[in-house]
């Protein structure tokens, strides 16, 4: 079936397919998923296949999720199946893009770098190149552009950016492959739905996102996206418009929350009405006119970089005002992003395992504990980060006589150790490093303290490490 498709594609448009074949690579990644339940373990090894394409400067563009957590990478050119070791130059988990290179000399000889195009028009035809479901030969599918909108990028699970929906099939192995139109790259295939959710719905990362990534790394470092770090609501209600002193022109959105530590903190206030961003008028449905289209107002910030400014026209207390916002990282939102290429952080003491809570921890442990779920879910909204920049939790117990009575405290949040407030995992390690007869651990909420005697912890230490094969006592 795949062969048939490929032949058909070659027959139909050989002039278009040939240069792509000379730029396409097949990427094989051997990766290791960290083990958040036994965080000292190196984790399970697995393999995967994806696609990539050569762009200028001896670089290969692919998806971040193709090469995340990779321990070893090889790429092979279409028509030359010998795998060559590759390495990651830059990886951007928040927009699911990565750049690789191959050090072996001569690898890029005879290849044709692909050029980036613009945003394809709705209903125009695009071709998708890749290695769906793992085959070793190029596969091409064709479809039309169905929709252009913001979508959540499932790799990080939290970021959303401009996305182009196409009706060509996108399957595992297509990831990282180029989507072509008129001989130029108009997107990188990256996600879709399984057939039982929606049919013929595939997504590609459009070139504004790709170009932003390439520009961000020009200084040799990837800085991430920046964010206004505020929430807003549409303003369609006539009473709300009148109460806020707005004209009946359907322009403007109402600021609901401004998140502490974010770009707008201290500049924008809840209750402000945003009427324009960088001079572009904001409609009541939170869109702005841009590139002959109507796009979410966030698109202005999407195209900016750390340290850039954005200007906002607001109506505050019925009066117009202009605000300038220097843009920075979206902390503390990152807590809810999937984490890659980092070893889990932890401290083991007296057989008790302490870990900071993040999305990976929640996915691995699926805790039932209500307080933990509350602090994680409402970390931003309820400003939990002020007292707990990291939520440190007693994540597991390596059963031993020293901790025989600590079982009820699994997934409890550490509030204090020996009277010191615990704000980060490093505070836990620091308190346990201080000499004391007793280590008294107070958990958040009502409950008795967990008490460990130093003598008992010392006696138990080697016994626990060897019995449970703990190779490392902490990773801060």
């Amino acid at each position: 079936m795949f062969r048939f498709l490929m032949i058909a594609a070659l027959g139909a448009g050989i002039a278009q397919a040939t240069p792509v074949a000379r730029s396409l690579v097949r990427i094989e990644a051997t990766s290791q998923e960290p083990d958040y339940k036994a965080p000292w373990n190196p984790g399970e090894v697995s393999g995967g296949v994806g696609a990539g394409f050569i762009i200028g400067g001896n670089r290969i563009m692919t998806n971040a999720h193709v090469v995340s957590n990779a321990k070893f990478l090889t790429v092979s050119k279409e028509g030359n199946p010998k795998p060559r070791p590759a390495r990651v130059l830059f990886i951007a988990h928040d927009c699911d893009l990565a750049l690789l290179t191959v050090d072996e000399s001569g690898f890029f000889k005879g290849t044709t770098p692909l050029e980036l195009g613009g945003i394809p028009a709705i209903e125009s035809v695009v071709s998708v190149y890749g290695y769906p479901i793992g085959g070793s030969r190029l596969s091409v599918t064709q479809g039309i552009v169905s929709r252009i909108d913001f979508q959540t990028y499932t790799h990080s699970g939290m970021d959303s950016h401009l996305t182009v929906q196409i009706d060509a099939a996108i399957n595992p192995g297509n990831s990282g492959g180029p989507v072509m139109q008129g001989g130029k790259v108009v997107g990188v295939a990256f996600q879709g739905y399984s057939g039982d959710v929606a049919q013929n719905v595939g997504y590609m990362i459009p070139t504004p996102v790709i170009r932003r990534f390439l520009k961000d790394v020009e200084d040799g470092h990837y800085d991430r996206y920046v964010d206004l770090a505020l929430s807003y609501q549409t303003l369609f209600n006539p009473a709300a418009r009148a109460a806020l002193g707005l004209k009946d022109d359907d322009l403007g959105v109402l600021v609901g929350s401004v998140y502490g530590g974010g770009s707008s903190d201290g500049i924008v206030r809840p209750g402000d009405v945003l009427t324009a961003i960088d001079g572009l008028p904001i409609s009541g449905d939170a869109t702005i006119p841009m590139d002959d289209d109507s796009v979410p107002l966030a698109e202005v910030v999407e195209r900016k970089f750390k340290g850039d400014e954005v200007s906002l026209d607001v109506v505050r207390d019925g009066k117009p005002a202009k605000l300038k916002i220097p843009l920075s990282d979206p902390w503390p939102f990152n807590l809810h992003s999937n984490v890659y290429d980092e070893d889990p952080r932890f401290v083991v003491f007296g057989g008790l395992i302490f870990q900071p809570v993040d999305q990976n921890f929640m996915t691995a442990h699926e805790p039932e504990d209500l307080r933990l779920r509350y602090m994680f879910d409402f970390f931003i909204e309820d400003k939990i980060y002020k007292d707990h920049p990291e939520i440190v939790v007693l994540s597991g117990i390596l059963a031993d006589p020293v901790n025989a009575y600590a079982n009820d405290f699994r997934h409890a949040i550490v509030d204090e150790i020996n009277g010191t407030k615990i704000k980060r995992l490093a505070d836990v390690a620091a308190e346990f490093a201080k000499p004391a007869d007793y280590y008294v651990i107070k958990m958040a909420g009502a409950g008795r303290p967990v008490v460990l005697e130093r003598k008992a912890v010392e006696e138990a230490r080697q016994r626990i490490l060897s019995r449970y094969a703990v190779t490392r006592e902490q990773n801060l």
Binding site: S231, Q233, T234, L235, F236, N237, P238, A239, A240, A242, A243, L244, L254, V255, G256, S257, P270, G271, L370, R371, R373, Y374, D377, F378, E381, A404, Y405, A406, D408, Y438, V440, G445, A446, G447, R448, P449, V451, L452, E453, A456
Partner: protein
């Protein structure tokens, strides 16, 4: 207070067990019981918390009531919760008459009914309480055959312990009976008897383990004694949470050399323990002269080792003073605690709302309610995960809220109308202020909306979207249309 988990199975779901050995039709229990038990059919209708102005479809529960002194009939409170009509039926003759609830207490899950026609029970014999039950004793659970015959299942009392009662999770004494019961209609309340005396009422049955939890005779005795007074006091509780002190490292750290004691982990604001000066971190060594062990049990002269909450909740009466001997910072103190029942008006999120209308206010299509657990339970068995999480957390951590927080008033839904354009789909948002006034109850809200600012109702919300405005004059003008369109019987019920 006791964290012990109990398998909860409503007694109504006794599963069919085909081919069960036939029970003997009569014996000594049947003969005496027939003149003391009545079938009770209760038609109940609960409010729909998603549409608090409406009632759900009525349903009926059937059980066996026990005639007690004073011409009254004892049943579980769950049997008659939200009742609209209660019918008594004589087992043998199927004669029927009605009854009303004279006293009900959902904390202990008991109710006494009064027949409308006192003559209906003429000739029947009241049953006395059996207060001499011990582990290992045999008891008979009574059920009714369709033909009116009494069916009996003999079981053994396998444990006597304090456990959670339904609806309010209060820790009270339970008898656990091991008995192979059959599926029968009308098993919502069943008496368990011995030698013609009532030792408990069955309130849940686990068919797999064939164990029944009985409301125990001491709890029934307490309830009846209180119900007999002009001023019903109910069940007192100390308002404390505690944990075991088995961990020797903890005992050494706090310098506790006594053999027993439990560590106080929480003191309910405004409860008897707090009023008496008990503190978090105190170790309770004895209550009313009874030594408390490391798990919180004492040696009861009748029932053996059971949780000391039996002393505070059942043996003591509201108004009694119990002396707590506590260990605090190396010293032993005697602290008298005046026992009181829970002041339910101070509860932030009620664990049950029965026999009354859920409070609500509708303002221009915006529906306001006060948070209660029955609202969250409308999301079904997995409500802890399925219900709106912020409200779940408010319910779960209500004891940690500031003392003057009052009720949690929230927008439960928007009934789309001309006045709420743009607000469709907003739901389950906690309200902080209306027209600049703090909202700590629906009464506050009803008062605040009488004072619009510049012609607008300004509703401030704790989370996004932060604030909603409604046109006060337009709401008034559209009032009748809204009432008609959504068939609201009233725009508010307080």
């Amino acid at each position: 207070m006791s964290a012990r988990a109990l398998v909860l199975f409503a007694a109504i779901c006794l599963p069919a067990m085909g081919g069960v050995t036939p029970q003997p039709k009569t014996d000594k229990e049947g003969a005496t019981s027939n003149s003391s038990v009545l079938r009770v059919n209760s038609t109940n209708q609960a409010y729909d918390f998603f549409r608090p102005w409406t009632k759900k479809a009525p349903f009926s529960r059937r059980g066996l009531g026990t005639l007690i002194e004073g011409g009254r009939i004892l049943v579980t409170a769950e049997l008659v919760a939200n009742n609209t009509f209660i019918e008594l039926e004589k087992a043998a003759t199927a004669e029927k008459s009605s009854a009303t609830v004279e006293r009900v207490d959902y904390e202990c899950n008991l109710a006494v009914l009064r027949p409308t026609d006192p003559a209906f029970i003429a000739g029947m014999k009241p049953m006395a309480l059996d207060d001499g039950v011990r582990i290992g004793d045999r008891a008979t659970v009574l059920q009714l055959e369709p033909n009116g015959e009494i069916a009996q299942t003999l079981g053994t009392v396998t444990s006597i312990a304090v456990g959670a009662y339904p609806l309010d999770n209060m820790g009270l004494l339970l008898f656990r009976l091991s008995a192979p019961m059959q599926q029968r209609d009308g098993s919502f309340t069943l008496p368990a008897v011995r030698d013609g005396k009532l030792l408990g009422l069955l309130m849940r049955y686990d068919a797999r383990s064939q164990t029944a939890d009985l409301i125990s005779s001491p709890v029934i005795g307490h309830f009846l004694a209180e119900a007999g007074k002009g001023n019903y006091g109910g069940f007192a509780r100390a308002g404390l949470a505690f944990s075991a002190t088995r961990d020797p490292q903890l005992r050494r750290y706090i310098g506790l050399n006594e053999p027993g004691g439990v560590y106080v982990t929480d003191v309910l604001t405004g409860g008897p323990g707090e009023k008496a000066g008990l503190l978090k971190g105190d170790v309770i060594l004895a209550v009313d002269g009874k030594a408390i062990d490391q798990d919180g049990n004492y040696e009861d002269k009748e029932f053996g080792r059971i949780a000391f909450s039996h002393i505070t909740n059942t043996l003591s009466r509201p108004g009694d003073t119990l002396v707590f001997r506590v260990f605090r910072e190396g010293k032993t103190l005697e602290i008298p605690v005046k026992m009181e029942p829970r002041d339910r008006s101070k509860i932030v999120s009620e664990s049950y709302v029965v026999d009354r209308v859920p409070r609500y206010v509708v303002l221009g299509g915006v529906v306001f309610m006060e948070l209660s657990r029955p609202y969250l339970q409308e999301w079904g068995g997995d409500w802890l995960k399925e219900a709106p999480q912020r409200l779940v957390f408010y319910d779960a951590f209500q004891n940690e809220l500031p003392q003057d927080r009052g009720k949690i008033v929230f927008i439960s839904q928007i009934l789309p109308s001309q006045d709420t354009i743009g607000y469709e789909g907003l739901d389950n948002l906690v309200v902080s202020k209306v027209n600049g006034r703090e909202i700590r109850s629906l009464d506050d809200l009803a008062e605040a909306v009488r004072h619009p600012v510049n012609g607008f109702q300004k509703i401030e919300i704790e989370e996004d979207p932060g604030v909603l405005f409604l046109d006060a004059a337009a709401i008034e003008a559209n009032r009748d249309k809204l009432v008609k369109k959504y068939a609201l019987p009233a725009l508010q019920r307080l």
